[in-house]
Subunit: 407 residues, 2 copies
């Protein structure tokens, strides 16, 4: 007998069907027992006698007759069940059938192989998959090509700090902090590229918004006018990613502040080189108050705080770069990059770096690169803002940080 999923039961009233899944809840009453079965599609109620019912998380197959019952979840239930156990289970360390998972963060994470089964937890990571699919579908529609670039690199040149070192067949190597150099190089090949993959940051900070590795949604493309072209594409992407969430406020136009306006609005000193978390919160509050938007672009960050490949604005103190603030926290960094070889040589030299150390990266520019730019979205941070999670560890399946390497 073909297996039926829980969300298809109502199409089979009167028939005998086979369900399979986990015992989500067992409720023993005096003369009857209810068993709630969980499968990948949802939950289904099974009415059984009170004897010999398997415990929670047992994996079972249940054959029974589908009957309509207005007070059952979904309006249907299974009666006269024949239950066979596929796999026994010890009682779970936390009760998964409670609507809210009553577990402190360390328990949630230590017991992740089981706590992730809770429907509320599962929902977060289902949303993650949907958001990444929306990212890809939007960019595919705009003529982008997906690329897969190396995560092990020979030089720790991109920022120097916060890299993980490894033993590469007896030589030193490093985990890539971002696909930045490679995605720019690939603009020379495909014009428009994206990559979804892990990035690695040896973050010595123990905060609610930093992880040692996270999933970065990177895009980069050529023939842009300036960073505003990049912002347009990003807005299209973000609109698709938040589309399933009715509570996200994303107006037709996302408000844009210049960095200096953002500082002033946040009450910060005009010579501050960057936005602190409290400044981002003030910017976020302004966007919501004045424009009904959960998103605010801040553009024109000072060149002094941006990486060497950043393209300056017409006024060279400011850059053609931006952050996208989502509900008071930086979600995306992006901008226009330098595209002329001579500009790279000058920018590196001005920062006391040796262009020779960047030789294979610079070879792309030596041989002709268009004006281009791009952005990177942190998936886990996006989910945290979206779901209201206080800590980015809640929106990562198996987070890695200063202290955590397992599960």
């Amino acid at each position: 007998m073909q297996r039926v999923l829980s969300d298809q039961l109502s199409a089979h009233v009167g028939e005998t069907v086979r369900l399979a899944g986990w015992v989500h809840r067992r409720r023993l009453l005096a003369k009857v027992a209810f068993l709630v079965l969980r499968d990948r599609a949802g939950l289904a109620q099974v009415v059984a006698g009170p004897e010999g019912l398997p415990g929670e998380e047992t994996v079972v197959e249940i054959t029974g007759r589908v009957v309509a019952n207005a007070v059952a979840p979904g309006g249907v239930e299974l009666v006269e069940p024949s239950i066979s156990v596929l796999s026994v289970a010890e009682p779970p360390p936390v009760e998964l059938f409670r609507p809210a998972l009553a577990a402190a963060l360390p328990v949630l994470l230590d017991q992740a192989p089981v706590t992730l089964r809770h429907p509320a937890r599962r929902e977060v990571f289902g949303a993650a998959a949907a958001a990444v699919a929306a990212f890809r579908a939007t960019l595919d529609g705009l003529g982008f090509t997906e690329v897969f670039t190396p995560k092990i690199v020979g030089t720790a040149t991109e920022s120097g700090a916060n890299v993980f070192a490894l033993d590469y067949f007896g030589r030193p190597a490093y985990l890539a902090q971002s696909p930045q150099f490679y995605k720019q190089t690939m603009v020379g090949v495909f014009e428009r590229v994206y990559e979804v993959g892990p990035v690695f940051r040896a973050e010595p900070h123990d905060t609610s918004r930093h992880l040692a590795t996270y999933t970065s949604l990177d895009a980069e493309f050529g023939f842009v006018a300036d960073h505003r072209t990049v912002m347009e594409v990003l807005t299209t992407v973000v609109r698709a990613m938040v589309a399933p969430f009715a509570d996200v406020r994303l107006p037709e136009n996302i408000p844009v502040l210049h960095f200096s306006e953002a500082l002033s609005l946040a009450g910060a000193a005009p010579d501050e080189p960057d936005l602190a978390p409290e400044h981002e919160r003030a910017v976020g509050a302004w966007g919501l108050r004045e424009h009904g938007s959960d998103f605010v672009y801040v553009e024109g960050y000072p060149m002094s705080k941006r990486p060497f490949y950043t393209h300056p604005s017409a006024e060279p103190r400011w850059s053609n770069s931006f952050d996208l603030i989502f509900r008071g926290m930086e979600l995306v960094t992006g901008g226009q990059r330098l595209h002329r070889y001579v500009d790279y040589v000058a920018a590196l030299t001005a920062r006391g770096e040796r262009p020779e150390d960047y030789e294979s990266y610079l070879s792309a520019f030596r041989h002709g690169m268009p004006p281009h730019g791009g952005f990177a979205i942190g998936l886990e941070r996006f989910l945290a803002r979206l779901t209201g999670a206080a800590n980015v560890r809640e929106t990562t399946l198996f987070p890695r940080d200063l202290h955590r390497l397992a599960p």
Copy 2:
């Protein structure tokens, strides 16, 4: 003026349009010059006077009038061009306009930022993106959920050998050799999951088919009858991945050999524990000869050569696992896994391992896991077989091996 892509030119005959891209080829004749422009969609011919034309790989914008010309590529060309240079270029290290790229493998790889621009190289990686999209679309359609699991792990337990070690905030940690443990764990959450991501193998072998890191297309799912259910899903996935390639021979049913039959057919001794490359070639030749198939399944590999989580067959010497041979080389490994906690404890103990060392992995099985299985496809190896590349380095954007860490 809106930019037009090269493959849209024929829709604009008689109009003045703007193209943008790279000078793919400059051909100076006595009184006229042809400039071939390359953009992300293809090539376009531009007819110009012989004076002052930019060199190959220069990034240009060209405004001109589109005229029909039966002998021009695509039947159209641009005349009376006005050319502006966006970015100058030094001559490329190899001639990119030649139909075949005349470069030995080391040059191809050392100069990858430029050699990847060659249309034949670009085509390989366009095919890679399409294959991965087909993998995802097929599994999405079957109710799978995409997951993102950690690439840094605390214990080198999966196989012990060939792992990269790194310094994790002063502690030892390792790069994940596969998402095996995590994808199995996630079957307990979503039933059906897949992941596309890098895996890391400290391969000390310098062969044409091994790399230190590659892109693994992993799937895992629950409620299988045995490994044959896994093979059915894999066949559906592979059929979608090769669909654009008319020269791939994939019959309605992929032939299946038992491991012992494969040995015999390859003329190997019946007690050989594994298939050597020459045996795989013999199996591949048999599949083509007897079944007109580029693919052959070999099932029932000896338990002794498969990882501890492998499910045995009814005859316990053999396993419920398989390889899929594509054109004479192993492309996919898969099978049914153990699903009962007690079976894991017994399997680990029998191999002299301590179940305590696998505690968080085993917690998924302790708390109820269905019969399940899965597979992993090596993307670069798939592309090598598909395109006839002799070396998997030709089908990797920026390969990493025993000797190569750059570009």
